[in-house]
Symmetry: C2
Subunit: 492 residues, 2 copies
């Protein structure tokens, strides 16, 4: 066989094998065999590359045996702790097309008209968020010197880019200031730690209020303290959908404060931003249009595959802050979208957005988020009604936090020592549940205002998939209850 | 229709439509209609999102009409200027599987055994590059506190990560040094400008020798000058396959210098690194194993789709420099590969590497690069034999540079003024060729030693696709020659 055959063969037979494998992954029971790490590591210890290529069939046998059984069942309706949802059936097909075209969005030479399509899609989402009149966008149809937004590999890169813009603007505007800070709540995503470390600025994590929103008084004090010490605040970060609780910061009040002090306001709506597409739920994000920059992840709640972050600029002129040039690549005067991104070569992942907008439609997204909110409220109700559980954070959007309370601790005031025991209990509970593989919720640890800021381990639920129904939610809680019954015997 | 249908429908009909579209993209003539930007912009000006979803068929009609005709024919064998190659037929099928599984490599909870598979694949390529004994890798089978490498969204992120590691190490080791630089040749990729800007260090671009390799004397002088001024050199960058010329820096001598001065050596082998997989051609990368970190792009010459950069650490302990933590996400003590990456959520793109290694094999890669070198040498010969062209850089690896010389300038010593005219001529030539769409080479502008460091516009050829044959190369040159005949009439 020659290397040329690998380019010219048709892929019908392989396509069928892949389809069978995909079906097997879905139709086989949702729970997974306990994960035997040692055994798997032994299987995966060889470092040799085959001299001769395998046949397609032999390779797919290998995939069936070695790869598929090792995957996490993220699509199961009893896995309620992941931010990665099952995807509509059309996504992998659009993926096949995208990879065949293999366009590179860094420049127009390698993406041609898709660069224009990408700019259109960015404007569409920009308008959903900022609600500008159509006339706002008219100049950017033919003026390629700025952009209303960029696509990135994910929310992390979008957040890093936003902070880069904010810090660069601040340093340019006030070159005499030697030290710069970025401030936000303690619930900021860890991508902000990375951004601050890269940019050489300090990240300040301020406390939250009892609803897990940035404490406004702390924000005011922090800004005042910085001013007194000649430290600049380059950016305030507000969160629209914290990863731990789904809480949404008080964007309106934070924006007033930022505007008064001429500080860049970035809203991290990686998780919550997609709610803009739902007419019944978009009020949850009220005032988001006051942000200078906004991060939204397509692969979180817009049902796109992993790798589709977005960053939007309220004022497109801010996109010019990151323009750069290279003789062989992105010319300053070109129409290349790569002038605005930290990343270089980049796949045409906006094609997934194009497909989603047309094949889901606003009506579909509205139904999606209504169903998600219905499900999360149902779960909050079931937890509230069950004395074995304590609801620790009611859902603002489709995330909630709770924990199991062992029998002897129910109906009493819990001491810090009690909470230490309950923390340990819940940690063990979640680990067993995860290892059993029948259902899943994730686990986190945070300070809680109503427990004197003590750190509590809690179980974290995220529901997006419309395939989740009340029966699945009941199953997850019952699964935990059963595990907890066994664990109850181990505490004295 | 309900949103649930989009998850439960089978995709057979859609799959057929996508296949037809893909086939049309390939079988229709390779050249593209002239690009009517104004007309396309008018088509793409609407900002509305459909309320009701489109039917699959209506959507695919839209794709056929609006998207496919706008794409760049990167896979055409007469397009010889792109670094994005056509992909083997199996890639989009593996893509379909990868997107169905939708695993998130940031943590083990969302990727399970694939995290272990990813670590194995990184070791396999690490060993190809560094040639360590098997025993070197044994500890890292069960020690998850470090990694031999990471996957990134591209070479840019790999380079930025490498420089972050280098700068952090340098700052930690010599906290008294206030100013840091990164040095390399003027042919460094523009991702290094981004990295330096992000990290707040200065990037110094040094001259190249007549073979487009970093000038060693300039490097030595620069290091000495820094030492005298108490400026630290955090990293020296060597390039294995410059994007403009395909030249490979003298890694051995640069490594000696870096070692003597305890400076981190990073090799950017984004383009050239894949030659390691070819026994007949790997000598081109001799001494690469002396690098502290190495960038290789899977989507450049390993035939993987866009989005598969890699960074390797000679000493895995260097990976710990970037470890970080977040309570809900990547725990410090976890096995999560996300502890080592700037990016967070990340697709299982290493599955493409797994497929390529098994379905191409070392023999396939060897054939691929032999064919590429044969093709590029053939083109260099045809250019050398034709008085209408001047070969400006002979191919080290599969990239070359040349230009058209208008008739009146042939066979004489060219003055700087002559070169200005010839620059303009070649720029217009390339633009017309690109707009005609029958064939493609790219264009760049660089200083050339044999023209007293004058900046010359040149035509740049990259050949990887094994579907390219001598007839295609002849066609490209003939196409240019025909365009040039017309252009000749316009100069006086």
């Amino acid at each position: 066989m020659s290397i040329i055959d690998l380019f010219t063969q048709d892929s019908v037979a392989l396509s069928e094998r892949v389809s069978r494998g995909m079906q097997a992954f879905y139709t086989e029971k949702d729970d997974v065999a306990e994960f035997d790490q040692r055994q798997l590591l032994d299987k995966l210890s060889s470092l040799s590359i085959p001299e001769q290529p395998l046949s397609q069939d032999d390779y797919m046998d290998m995939v069936d045996e070695t790869i598929l059984p090792q995957c996490s069942h993220l699509a199961s309706p009893t896995y309620l702790g992941h931010m990665t949802s099952p995807l509509p059936h059309f996504i992998p097909e659009i993926g096949r097309l995208t990879q065949t075209l293999n366009q590179n969005m860094v420049k127009m030479e390698t993406s041609r008209g898709l660069t224009l399509l990408e700019r259109q899609l960015l404007k569409i989402i920009h308008q959903q968020v900022y609600s500008f009149e159509e006339s706002f966008y008219t100049p950017y149809l033919r003026d390629f010197s700025q952009t209303v937004g960029i696509f990135t590999s994910g929310g992390t890169m979008a957040n890093i880019t936003a902070l880069w813009v904010a810090v660069k603007k601040a340093r340019t505007h006030s070159p005499q200031v030697k030290k710069w800070m970025i401030v936000g709540s303690e619930l900021m995503h860890y991508s902000f730690d990375k951004a601050a470390a890269l940019l050489g600025v300090e990240l300040v994590r301020l406390p939250v209020d009892e609803h897990n929103r940035l404490n406004l008084e702390s924000l005011r004090q922090q800004c005042n303290a910085c001013q007194q010490k000649d430290i600049g605040v380059a950016c305030i970060v507000a969160i629209a959908g914290t990863t731990d609780f789904g809480s949404v910061d008080a964007i309106d009040q934070i924006a007033s404060l930022a505007q008064d002090r001429h500080i860049h306001l970035h809203v991290d709506a990686a998780w919550g931003g997609a709610f803009m597409l739902s007419k019944d739920n978009r009020a949850l994000l009220n005032h988001i249009e006051q942000a200078d920059t906004i991060t939204i992840d397509g692969h979180k709640q817009m049902l796109m595959p992993i790798g589709t972050g977005m960053l939007f600029f309220k004022n497109p002129i801010d996109s010019q802050v990151i323009r750069h040039t290279a003789p062989y690549a992105v010319r300053e005067t070109s129409l290349d979208q790569g002038r605005f991104t930290i990343e270089g070569t980049r796949p045409a992942n906006m094609l997934y957005l194009h497909a989603c907008l047309h094949l889901i439609g606003k009506q579909g997204y509205n139904e999606l988020f209504n169903k998600a909110m219905e499900n999360i409220r149902c779960m909050a109700r079931l937890i509230g009604d069950n004395p074995a559980f304590e609801l620790l954070s009611a859902p603002t959007i489709n995330i909630l936090g709770y924990r199991y309370i062992p029998e002897r601790y129910r109906g009493k005031t819990l001491s810090p020592q009690d909470n230490v025991v309950i923390n340990d209990f819940n940690q063990r509970l979640q680990k067993i549940q995860r290892a059993n593989g029948k259902s899943f919720v994730s686990r986190s640890k945070r300070k809680f205002a109503n427990y004197d800021e003590q750190e509590l381990v809690f179980l974290r639920v995220v529901i997006l998939s419309p395939l989740v129904a009340e029966e699945h939610i009941r199953f997850v809680l019952q699964d935990q209850f059963t595990i907890a019954q066994e664990l109850e015997k181990t505490i004295d």
